[in-house]
Assembly symmetry: C2
Homo-oligomer: 390 residues x 2
């Protein structure tokens, strides 16, 4: 196990109706003038935004609002939010939505107290100061409710970049599984895939002697395999939604990723799929992960075989190679069973796209022609992985 630090100071308030504590919680964490950030009309139509505003008002908190956050959130709205914060002396940013809304809120919170351009943080500057952020989560997927990360796309050039820092870890996060029940099966399945990918990116490690975190990851994956299909089949299943929601947080606050190298090749490879085909991140990951593992498993057959046996129940009698391949096939079948795609053809992709995809994956974002994760990948390797998605 490698040396590490772990810090997850967020105050989590979990369960039915807990969004009505928004006002009380903002006050507890020092807010008196709040910018409420949200996405499309669903938070308005469902009455959620109204309940939150009422709760803030009831606690004597003044609120301002900024709607219109879209998936793959853009820098333009961040600048708007920063302007509001400065003009109105906002001292707290409250995100009501999923990962995109939370990431936008984090960017606004950091930018509002920074003299320069907030984009500096997304070019590599560590975030060390920010307004406190609270979240009311409506989609189980990105894990941003418990993470120190934010991903924003700059409109000029459409660069998608991440920033990080303990200062943008949410002060509190309200997790009410009821709020995720309105999510249709396809989006639910995309979220499930994203959560499982966060776990598997941590599982595929080159560190040895990491039994405790291995077992935690396996446990969370087993819970997702059991609860995921229930939520897809019956969106109103509160209990399945609740299990997924807590697993989604645990998958990404790094409790089970500490002390070990992590992979993240699949996220990097998927990135170009959502960029080119405008597909959902989760759907892209469902296509990417089995294709990637079918290429990468030879790097550490024993690890992938362990994953296959413990998570997918592959028989002990099989040798490592057979078990690994069967586990990868089980993963693919699971994604298909919850309605996820398994080829880029389903996004309209063809063999003609492969060179371009691989080139951007390997040289985009200032990369040096290789991807460095569980396995080191050359451009040819990446092409081969994309080819396995046809």
């Amino acid at each position: 196990m490698e040396n590490f630090t772990f810090y997850s100071p967020t105050y989590f308030v979990f369960g039915k109706g807990e969004e009505n504590k928004a006002g009380e919680l903002v006050k507890k964490f020092g807010g008196s003038r709040v910018l409420v950030v949200y996405g499309g009309g669903s938070a308005v139509k469902s009455g959620l935004l109204g309940r939150v505003t009422d709760s803030l008002k009831g606690a004597g908190i003044e609120s301002f609002s900024l709607g219109g956050v879209k998936p793959n959130p853009r820098s333009g709205l961040v600048y708007e939010g920063i302007d509001i914060c400065r003009k109105e002396n906002v001292d707290f940013v409250l995100a009501v939505g999923g990962g995109s809304v939370i990431d936008t809120s984090k960017a606004i919170a950091a930018g509002a107290v920074y003299d320069g351009d907030f984009w500096d943080f997304y070019m590599g500057k560590r975030i060390t100061e920010a307004l406190p952020v609270g979240t009311i989560l409506t989609i189980s997927a990105a894990g941003s409710e418990g993470s120190p990360d934010s991903v924003i796309t700059k409109e000029e050039g459409m660069f998608k970049r991440g920033a990080s820092g303990d200062a943008i870890r949410p002060a509190f996060s309200i997790l009410n599984p009821e709020l995720t029940q309105s999510l249709p099966p396809y989006q639910t399945a995309c979220g499930i895939t994203d959560i499982m990918a966060h776990l598997m990116e941590r599982y595929m490690t080159n560190s040895s002697d990491v039994q405790t975190t291995d077992r935690m990851i396996e446990g969370l994956l087993l819970a997702m395999i059991e609860e995921g299909p229930k939520a897809v089949a019956n969106p109103d299943d509160y209990e399945a939604r609740a299990n997924i929601m807590w697993a989604g947080m645990m998958a990404h606050n790094n409790s089970c990723g500490v002390g070990r190298s992590q992979d993240w090749n699949s996220h990097n490879i998927e990135h170009e799929l959502s960029a080119l085909y405008d597909c959902a991140h989760g759907a892209g990951l469902a296509v990417t992960f089995p294709a990637y593992l079918s290429f990468a498993y030879k790097h550490d057959v024993a690890r992938v075989a362990q994953f296959a046996r413990r998570v997918w129940g592959c028989p002990e009698e099989l040798d490592d190679e057979e078990a690994a391949l069967m586990g990868i096939e089980s993963l693919r079948e699971f994604f298909t069973s919850i309605g996820m795609p398994s080829t880029i053809g389903e996004f309209g992709g063809t063999e003609a796209d492969i060179d371009k995809l691989a080139n951007v994956a390997c040289y985009g974002d200032g990369r040096d022609g290789k991807l460095y994760g569980f396995v080191e990948l050359s451009e040819d390797d990446v092409k081969e992985i994309y080819r396995r998605m046809l």
Copy 2:
């Protein structure tokens, strides 16, 4: 799943040599005049205390020290520590040791800023204010390094009581597995048992639909079953110690105990064993847990059978009753295999003690004659459980 809040703001610094960051960390969390609390001579002899003092000095921090904390820590030393804090304007309490040292430090930290008698907190008053506490952990067992709890014994009457509050959650905890390598096999096994008990007390629940936390607990137990015997057989096994240390923290910071009722009958029943026989808490738990489960499993055979199948690998073919009983036997055998006792006879106990043990367990600490956990236990039930320890 039930509504809950979860809050674990401690900054964990894990790995080899990290105690040398003590000064830097105390400073980061606002300390400039520190009371260093420790136990017996081993922290001095091993050189640990010297390294910590050097690190504090190097960071320009003034330090005072209070040694002599014993297992089942006493109120007397807490009063001494409070006096030093007040006289010397101490603004940070640093625990160097195991659960007893940390619990003493938490009590001092709360008492130092409280006008009344610190014992009020151990009579039920919630701790809402305290000096910040840091810990340098030397024993994996109690989980106090990540918890909001403290247990102290009042010398007048020898009452053992707990206090709680987010204000005494450690600001930081340094977890260096090397520091646990000097612990002999018996104490190591006691710690392993305590950690497993913390997990099983959470596992035995009357809440339904708690798949995610079930799976996390099972994963952590499986890691302990694999890594525990390695550390007992070879105290210098850094990697086993590291896996146990992280599992010990995760077992008790409540990540995997949220949203579900918990048991704690075994801890309450064990309490009287360590009081009467002066045995180690972990050794008492090793005797108690299998005896308790052999009585209590009928309350929810399916749950105990699930525990037996997923944690102890009991065959799927067995019916729930057979699996449950086999799982309980596997648990007992595991404890025996790491050198733990399985009867009170090994502490010198006899049948003649049973009435007294049960009476104190059921009526001590202001109890009403029953224990309320996974199963509600009458005094006769508790007698029967003690009888199964003969």
